[in-house]
């Protein structure tokens, strides 16, 4: 297990290199740069000095070299727009993103897993059909639109909840969490249902029933434990996505999260911030993925065996992909 974790951590290195390279060069190819934007009113001497300071008087390769040199020294660089360390900026935004991500995933897990189980065990019933219709509709709603409509209803018309920002504690969290959570819930309900449907036909449940195990235990212990892998996969993937910042939702609700920082920084061509934040996001997603993989091992002894045998082909260790998917947004 330790070797496996170390291996996974080492695998982050090429990802960081790759991500930084792609993002850095893409940002550079975009029209304009951050210095031009803040420097519109700057005197020419000052601008020239800043150009030198940030390496904009030289090629993009030089700037990338500078960036990587900094990265090796543990620094994610300095934001031109915010005049601040990228790490510091990121850490200021991370709490809001974490809060939103965990709230929406939590809501989705708490509601959708029981619903998915119910739908699967009463396959073809009214509950099943309704939950399927609702979740496919939930899946088809652009979440920024849902967010807007929720804001209009609950903030403008009913005045029940705040419409933006993160200043009113749990109340502020509700609408954004529902907006992000709806899509997650749809995905998770569908995954739970189809995964349970697969498991529910398995012979070992019949064995359990033949032993006299009560139906509730059969479903919640014997079946669920086996259906968990795809569910955990989806929870992990969605958690990862949410950690990258629910860009659009954060925008609708003026949520002070990482996603909004990134998109604002893209608009301002703040290369260091965008690159740094995406690297950190990738690292965070990888950590979530690692936790998910470790969870697999707890849930399924067969996978546990594969982790402890590091020489085995990696392809096998890859758990079954979740059958469900979501729109990219």
């Amino acid at each position: 297990m330790h070797r496996y974790i170390i291996k996974r951590v080492l695998m982050l290195i090429p990802i960081i290199l790759g991500v930084s390279f792609i993002v850095f060069f893409m940002m550079d190819m975009a029209e304009g740069n951050a210095l031009d934007l803040i420097g519109l009113e700057y005197s020419e001497e000052k601008l020239a000095e800043l150009y030198r300071q940030y390496g904009y008087d030289r090629s993009v390769f030089y700037r990338y070299f500078l960036y990587m040199k900094n990265l090796l020294h543990g620094s994610l660089g300095q934001s031109i727009i915010y005049k601040k360390d990228v790490w510091e900026l990121y850490m200021q935004r991370l709490p809001a993103t974490l809060k939103l991500a965990s709230a929406s995933v939590l809501v989705a897990v708490v509601l959708s897993i029981p619903l998915g189980i119910k739908a699967a065990t009463t396959h073809g019933s009214l509950v099943d059909n309704t939950s399927m219709v609702v979740s496919i509709v939930g899946l088809s709603m652009p979440n920024y639109w849902l967010g807007l409509m929720l804001a209009v209803l609950f903030a403008q018309k009913l005045h029940w909840l705040p419409s933006s920002g993160d200043l009113n504690g749990i109340k502020s969290l509700i609408l954004p969490a529902i907006t992000v959570g709806t899509g997650l819930m749809a995905t998770m309900t569908r995954t739970t249902r189809s995964s349970m449907l697969d498991v529910i036909r398995q012979d070992y449940l019949r064995t359990a029933r033949a032993k006299g195990v009560p139906e509730k235990v059969v479903i919640n212990k014997h079946a669920l434990r086996n259906a968990l892998i795809p569910i955990i996969t989806v929870v992990g993937t969605e958690m990862g996505k949410a950690l990258g910042g629910a860009v659009v939702t954060e925008n609708v609700f003026a949520w002070p999260g990482v996603g909004r920082l990134i998109i604002d920084s893209v608009n301002q061509r703040d290369t260091a911030v965008v690159t740094g934040c995406i690297i950190l996001t990738a690292v965070l997603i990888s950590i979530v993925q690692l936790i998910v993989d470790i969870l697999y091992a707890f849930v399924d002894p067969r996978l546990r065996a594969q982790y402890s045998a590091p020489r085995k082909k990696k392809a096998k260790a890859a758990p079954p992909a979740a059958p469900e998917r979501r729109a990219a947004a």
Binding site: P14, G18, S140, P142, Y144, S194, R325
Partner: protein, 295 residues
Amino acid sequence: MSKGKEIAAVTAAGTKSKRRDIWRRFRRNKGAMLGMLILIVLILVGATVDFWLPEDWIVGQNLTEKLQHPSAKHLFGTDELGRDLFWRTVYGTRFSLAIGFVAVIISALIGVPLGAVAGYYGGKIETVIMRITDIFSAIPSILMAIAIVSVLGRTTINLMLAVGIAAVPQFTRVTRASVLTVKNEEYIEAARALGKTDPYIIFRHILPNCLSPIIVQTTLRVAGAIISASSLSFLGIGIKPPTPEWGALLTAGKTYIMGYSYLCLFPGLAIMITVLAFNMVGDGLRDALDPKLKN
């Protein structure tokens, strides 16, 4: 259709009845049939709208009738320049569908061969391709798309490219996974024994046999692409006005959402219904193509 023929060539007899079976299973799924009906209507509208909808109805401004709430004259109301939102939404079908389809074709064209090669050859090639895929998927897809549009500029085709490229990793993964399942089948061994070249085997034997997941993925991805594209529009990185792409309509409407929420409601509904239709057809296709997955 030619791909369909290829399947027929490869999977011996019974294909016709198999296809009839698929169709029978698909037809039985009411949701999928409803979705298909909606799609057919949308595609018909999208394909022909250029011929029968006068340009003036779409871009013609009439400032005396600006921001009118929905009425018999203007079903969906009018926007801030007095343009009829209903006709703009109808015309928008064309762009939204086109973006969805083209984007997915782009991602399939890149992702499927990459996945097939990775799955077929394995070893170093696979490692390289899959690592690159990992890197690309480590970048949140919407940010990826934003970056691409920022670099390439804001044109329709770039938007399609951006949305398409951002979805490539998914196609690569799905294709690789299903290639892995068929690559050791006996008929592949047989083809190899007959001295067929690798590209021939990949395109004639392997890909046709893992089409099901790819077809399903494609359908569902179109839905995703439409949402992605509209999200980009929403964030202000979308398509060129006065093109009435739905996301762009919604974005424009967002400004007026306080007093004129219908400007957001209808394009949003249009997106939702279209995506819903694709999702339902996708689900139906998956159940029909792979009955194991259902019951």
